[in-house]
């Protein structure tokens, strides 16, 4: 059972944010889903299943990169060829 405080903490951890108005209903629904997940506690077995693909690799051959304009084209803010981002304080 997650409390409203814990739900709020998870929202912070995931950097998604949750409104105080949303928090009550959200927590209630969240817990209902978590309760439903408890059925997994009864699952027995292992995952040593059939391994199909493995060792999928490519040769070390350089390929053309994107032209810088394409790299920057969707960025909201750029400066001297760099992409601008908020600073970690």
């Amino acid at each position: 059972m997650a409390t409203e405080q814990e739900v709020h903490h998870i929202a912070e951890l995931a950097d998604v944010g949750i409104n105080t108005e949303e928090l009550g209903t959200f927590t209630h629904q969240f817990n209902a889903i978590l309760d439903y997940f408890d059925v997994l506690d009864r699952v027995q077995g292992d995952t040593a299943g059939i391994r199909d693909l493995c060792n999928v690799m490519r040769e070390d051959i350089p390929e053309p990169s994107l032209p810088r304009e394409a790299v920057l084209q969707n960025a909201a803010a750029t400066e001297d060829g760099f992409i601008k981002a908020p600073r970690v304080m």
Binding site: V56, V71, L72, I83, A85
Partner: protein
């Protein structure tokens, strides 16, 4: 054992592949502008997927084998989830509970002498994040600029057990590791930022502190020394050492607590669903390792007669070892010992002083210089002078002269009695006249005579038995002959002259 220092290192090295770990962008980004070695994959555009670079695994396995590790039957990549502006997918593809290899060791020269084994916990492969440049000011607003050229560069992470007991041992471990990786041709230590170290330090009985952001070899010893002192001071004052993460600030030589909002990152690791497992244990068998530092060191001792210390120094760096062998190759019997001392004791120091790499020295030129020394054409002092001229010419981008040219230009040919005999022989050969040594004025004797006249006080001191006086007079003679006199000759002739004077 109370008060014992316990150090473990996590070393990240960029693997020297041509393309990035999960995409085809070229890794040769250092001389190019920001965001010019980027594609949708390493930019982390939605919908893109990683494809593993085979050579990065081959390289990592070479390292694992050289470090005597066991490669896992099955290893896999995992996502390490956290938010940071230089991490464009908001997760780093790394290896978590199924790394490439575990359980090896690296031998170093222990503090107490003798070989010491530093155990390796694990070796794994992961991608490098991008690079941040911090901009702005407090009043006009701070922000960051991001360059993704480095994002996706393959890294090998080598984690040691906390087996080191001093900053010195840590430095030795790091040097040995670096040399080993270079011998394996998987790493280029000259590339800026190609190596990063995180250190874990504790004083036995106290909490462990992690120091991050060490980016130079010298920095490791400095950071550890500072941190150990800091911790010991705390304990001495009866305070506790807090378990925390600190950052090393290279410029100031201090570690600083990183008080960030997330105390303990919860990385929420899970296996990377876009990559398939690695079943590469069978590859180990076919990996042929080149001659590694320890083996080369032993060979230098056996083949060239180097001392243990010199052999260690020479083989401790791949370029240096190669330089040595190239220099002595024309005539090892003659050149080996001379090269040994001259490189270990002189050249390295001169290069370090000028912040220059061994790469700039032409081995043939150095061999030439050794030849002049061997033949007695110049004194050791002159040899050093010639070397300095060569290096300075490189540093100042001037054309580099051959050693023999420099010797003649600066008139550094050795002056001595036997040398005079050579010159006389040359002259008589030219003129056909028998050499008459007595009529040739011996420049050393001349210099000695002048000095004895100029330094009556020192001569008196010598007569009185003051030991330092003799050396002083030798020094004065050497000065007069501008270092070109053979010291052995000077000593012998001065002693004779002094005897004549009054003893």
């Amino acid at each position: 054992m109370e008060g014992q220092v316990i150090v473990g290192l996590e070393v990240h090295c960029q693997l020297d592949t041509k393309s990035k770990l999960f995409c085809g962008c070229s890794t040769d980004y250092r001389n190019d502008g920001p965001n010019t070695h980027v594609c949708p994959v390493c930019l982390g555009l939605p919908g893109t997927m990683p494809v593993l670079n085979k050579r990065s695994i081959e390289y990592a396995m070479r390292v694992a084998k050289a470090l005597n590790c066991s490669v896992l039957e099955e290893s896999e990549f995992s996502r390490k989830n956290y938010f940071y502006p230089d991490l464009d997918k908001a997760y780093q593809i790394t290896q978590y509970d199924k790394p490439l290899a575990v359980g090896g060791y690296l031998e170093i020269e222990g503090d107490e002498g003798g070989e010491k084994r530093i155990r390796i916990t694990r070796v794994h492969v992961e991608e490098d994040p991008g690079r941040l440049v911090h901009m702005g000011t407090a009043d006009r607003g701070r922000y960051s600029l991001v360059d993704y050229n480095r994002a996706g560069i393959p890294l090998i992470e080598i984690v040691s057990e906390p087996d080191m007991r001093s900053p010195k041992e840590a430095r030795k471990f790091l040097n040995k590791l670096r040399a080993t990786l270079e011998y394996l041709s998987v790493f280029d230590s000259e590339k800026e930022g190609s190596l990063r170290v995180d250190a874990n330090i504790s004083i036995r009985g106290s909490e462990r502190v992690e120091v991050k952001n060490i980016t130079s070899y010298k920095g490791v010893e400095k950071a550890l020394t500072f941190e150990i002192t800091r911790q010991k001071n705390l304990l001495r004052r009866g305070q506790k050492v807090e378990r925390e993460t600190r950052h090393f600030l290279e410029a100031r030589g201090v570690t600083q607590s990183s008080r960030s909002k997330e105390q303990e990152h919860d990385y929420r690791y899970f296996p990377e669903p876009d990559l398939r497992p690695l079943l590469v244990k069978s590859w180990v068998h076919d990996i042929v390792l080149p001659e590694l530092p320890d083996a080369r060191r032993e060979r230098f001792i056996a083949q060239y007669g180097c001392s243990l210390n010199h052999a260690r120094t020479l083989t401790g760096d791949l370029r240096l070892a190669n330089f040595y062998e190239t220099v002595v190759s024309p005539d090892p019997a003659t050149l080996a010992t001379l090269a040994d001392t001259w490189i270990s004791d002189t050249l390295i120091g001169e290069l370090n002083y000028r912040n220059m790499s061994i790469d700039v020295v032409d081995p043939a030129a150095f061999t030439g210089l050794l030849g002049l020394l061997y033949q007695g054409v110049i004194t050791d002092k002159s040899g050093t002078e010639v070397l300095r001229v060569i290096l300075d010419q490189h540093k100042n981008h001037q054309p580099c002269e051959k050693p023999a040219t420099i010797v003649d230009r600066l008139n550094l040919r050795k002056v001595s009695a036997t040398n005079m005999g050579d010159t006389a022989a040359e002259l008589s050969a030219k003129s056909g006249v028998e050499p008459d040594l007595s009529i040739q004025s011996n420049p050393i004797v001349t210099a000695i005579t002048e000095v004895l006249t100029e330094q009556p006080g020192a001569v008196n001191d010598f007569m009185k038995g003051k030991k330092g006086a003799f050396n002083f007079l030798v020094g004065q003679v050497m000065k007069k002959t501008r270092g070109c006199a053979d010291p052995g000759e000077v000593n012998r002739l001065l002693a004779e002259e002094l005897k004549k004077e009054g003893a």
